[in-house]
């Protein structure tokens, strides 16, 4: 049943790459009752994967810290935040450019933010060097009619 009133969830996990899958699956499970299309669900899944990977690979790099993932659903509106307390982004504008990466050594493609922007309606980045990064993403789902 789709509730108009907002519902929220949050999870906090250690910044191990193995936890990316956990983060994706948690979001999928939280959104599935909205009955989104397969494409919409995949869009959100990819965007979450990108944001969480950024927190782990770039935010914390070699140290282990905590990543906070929250999701709010209200009607067809979905809002996701991914927060880390890692090193922060030096140049946000540059980070948003497709194919720009600070980690060519790790074979990062530099497509993380481009994918978030392609798959979500809105992507906001708040970051302070030495303090961490917070990504806020929003998407309106086009709900299917339940038969």
């Amino acid at each position: 049943m789709i509730r108009e009133q907002a519902q929220e969830m949050s999870i906090r996990f250690d910044s191990y790459p193995e936890n990316e899958q956990f983060a994706r699956m948690t979001i999928m499970a939280f959104l599935v009752d909205l009955n989104p299309t397969v494409d919409e669900l995949e869009d959100v899944k990819t965007a979450v994967s990108e944001a969480v990977t950024n927190a782990i690979i770039h935010g914390y790099e070699k140290e282990v810290g905590q990543v906070l993932l929250t999701c709010r659903k209200a009607g067809a509106r979905v809002r996701i935040t991914v927060t880390d307390h890692g090193k922060g982004i030096a140049d946000i504008q540059k980070a948003r450019e497709p194919f720009f990466t600070t980690r060519p050594d790790a074979e990062r493609s530099g497509m993380g933010f481009a994918f978030m922007e392609a798959f979500m309606d809105e992507v906001h980045i708040e970051s302070e060097q030495g303090q961490g990064t917070r990504i806020v993403m929003q998407k309106n789902l086009h709900l299917l009619q339940k038969v």
């Binding site: 899944k45 074979e107 497509m111 993380g112």
Partner: protein, 104 residues
């Protein structure tokens, strides 16, 4: 993480896992590079038949393997992309770099 592969004379087919994220991309990179070097592979094929999900970590891994094959004059192709993975490929401009065969 272990992957299925088939190695013939100079050619290698790696079957990619259900989901390619940072973890899987790292493991694929290590496995592919070891096999390419030990079997002197000239033609590398990633078979995506089992793959339903890929994020930008997979893009980085594929660009890296494409460069590696390019250094030695070898070739690389991908096969059996799902519609979703095809979308990711197109967004990243990967078809300009890597031959895509046999759509899903």
């Amino acid at each position: 993480m272990e992957f299925q592969y088939e190695a013939g004379t100079g050619s290698l087919r790696i079957f990619t896992p259900r989901e390619i994220d940072e973890c899987a991309a790292r493991a694929l990179r290590a496995e592919a590079d070891e096999l390419i070097d030990s079997y002197q592979i000239r033609h590398l094929i990633f078979d995506f038949s089992n793959t339903e999900f890929m994020d930008s970590s997979g893009i980085g891994m594929l660009i890296g393997r494409s460069k590696k094959m390019g250094y030695t004059g070898g070739s690389i192709e991908v096969e059996h992309l799902s519609a979703r993975v095809q979308k990711i490929f197109t967004l990243a401009g990967l078809p300009q770099l890597i031959t895509v065969k046999g759509e899903f």
